[in-house]
């Protein structure tokens, strides 16, 4: 049997008002991109607790994307600015603990930027594929269930 190619699991935490719509636009525009991303829609990047990211890794993510509105465009005026502050300290903290920062990426993608969504996803999938599966985290000894591999492959793209 031939060895199966590693397909990274990317969890994307998206703001409802911009990137989510941007991903939708990519879909309606019939743009092709790699099918490795699972989207979790939230009202605003400002509502993303860093624990979401930790949980995603625990549940088998190999890479994470956090994406919201461009500065100045927040539906709630300042949610993305607060989020940006958080990632400014959280990202180095994870790096300090030995987690490759390339596994967590951040972007601003508006509802009109279907093309940027496609580029961003393709780029993060390629980056994480090159890094390989996040075995360090997934193999952390737990007496809990072996969850890695449980998340089903997405049935549709964009």
């Amino acid at each position: 049997m031939s060895e199966t190619k590693f397909e990274p699991k990317i969890i994307a935490f998206l703001c409802n008002w911009c990137t989510y719509a941007g991903a939708d636009l990519a879909g309606t525009g019939r743009k092709q991109y790699q099918a490795n991303v699972r989207i979790i829609k939230l009202p605003c990047t400002g509502g993303i607790d860093p624990l979401f990211l930790i949980k995603a890794f625990e549940r088998g993510a190999d890479g994470i994307l956090v994406s919201g509105c461009h500065p100045g465009d927040c539906h709630y005026n300042s949610g993305n600015y607060h989020a940006r502050r958080r990632w400014n300290v959280f990202r180095p903290l994870l790096e300090f603990c030995g987690i490759n920062p390339d596994r967590i990426q951040f972007s601003w993608i508006s509802a009109a930027e279907g093309g940027k969504w496609v580029e961003t996803i393709n780029s993060i999938v390629d980056t994480v594929r090159a890094l390989g599966p996040f075995e360090g985290y997934h193999k952390l000894n737990t007496i809990g269930p072996e969850i890695s591999g449980e998340a089903a492959a997405p049935s549709e793209t964009g």
Partner: protein, 281 residues
């Protein structure tokens, strides 16, 4: 200095300014002190002051048992007094509800605690009374303050991971780190919430990683480097390295140091339009 402290405490209790004095008393061994709560003027002789007074007594401001003793006077070193500034900014206390007996300090612990090595608050920045000779608070350059981190920051990704896994593996989830922390004052900690269960309650490596990272992160831009978490850890995890790393990032990115200036906006509850976003795509 001890006499001066006792006299001050006696005076405050006698004239009714405060109901209780949070101070340091003799410990169970000569190398230890312990927190004491003096409510009667005749008990002030229990107060002491020496190089073993490492505790940050502001932690007792969050505890129901000590709060009900009435308005306190706290004996605070420069580092501890920084906590007061953060607590005031975070609306946990009112200035008129605490009386601060500041003490000037040349460092505590034997060997000297690492927090003291780059101390720039020998004289507290906030106090009602000062005991001890006033020292000049010399500024310590950025690099020197975070020098402790250098050897860990330069490790490779894998080495960092292995180092921290080895540390976190030891964690027994006793929560001494968060219970001693004067700034961990949530009535119900995230780890105690189980609907949903964000952090595994089990003390296995996965649960320990999420707990330790979250504890540290919740102190981002808030930790005043009293090192109490690290001192109390029964399994000797260098927790303060995480806190210090976050303090460094907060200072680098937001030019903010908690507990120095009461007029500064809290780092994590404000933002600037030109905050760094180089890492955003």
């Amino acid at each position: 200095m001890i006499e001066e402290l006792r006299k001050k405490a006696e005076e405050l209790l006698k004239n009714g300014t405060v109901k209780v004095v949070f101070g340091y008393g003799e410990g169970s061994t000569p190398e230890r002190t312990r927190p004491v709560f003096i409510t009667k003027p005749e008990d002030v002789n229990k107060l002491t002051w020496n190089k073993y007074c490492v505790y940050n007594l502001t932690t007792y401001l969050k505890r129901q048992e000590t709060r009900k003793l009435g308005k306190p006077a706290l004996i605070l070193k420069g580092c501890d007094a920084r906590t007061i500034i953060v607590l005031l900014k975070e609306c946990q206390i009112k200035r008129e509800d605490v009386y601060i007996i500041g003490v000037t300090c040349d460092g505590v612990g034997d060997p000297l605690a690492t927090k003291c090595e780059a101390c720039d608050v020998h004289t507290p920045l906030i106090y009602d009374d000062l005991v001890g000779e006033k020292r000049e608070n010399k500024e310590v350059p950025f690099e020197e303050r975070y020098a402790e981190l250098d050897e860990y920051e330069k490790l490779g990704e894998k080495e960092k991971w292995e180092f921290w896994q080895k540390q976190f593996e030891k964690c027994i989830k006793c929560y001494a780190c968060s219970n001693i922390c004067p700034l961990c004052f949530c009535d119900r900690c995230i780890v105690e919430k189980n609907q949903p269960q964000w952090i595994d309650p089990s003390a296995h490596p996965r649960g320990n990683l999420s707990w330790n990272v979250t504890r540290a992160y919740h102190l981002a831009g808030r930790c005043i480097n009293c090192e109490e978490c690290q001192r109390v850890c029964p399994v000797d995890i260098p927790l303060n390295l995480l806190n210090k790393k976050l303090a460094k990032e907060a200072e680098k990115s937001f030019n903010y140091r908690p507990g120095y200036n009461i007029d500064d906006e809290l780092a994590m509850s404000t933002y600037k339009e030109d905050d760094d976003q180089d890492f955003f795509k």
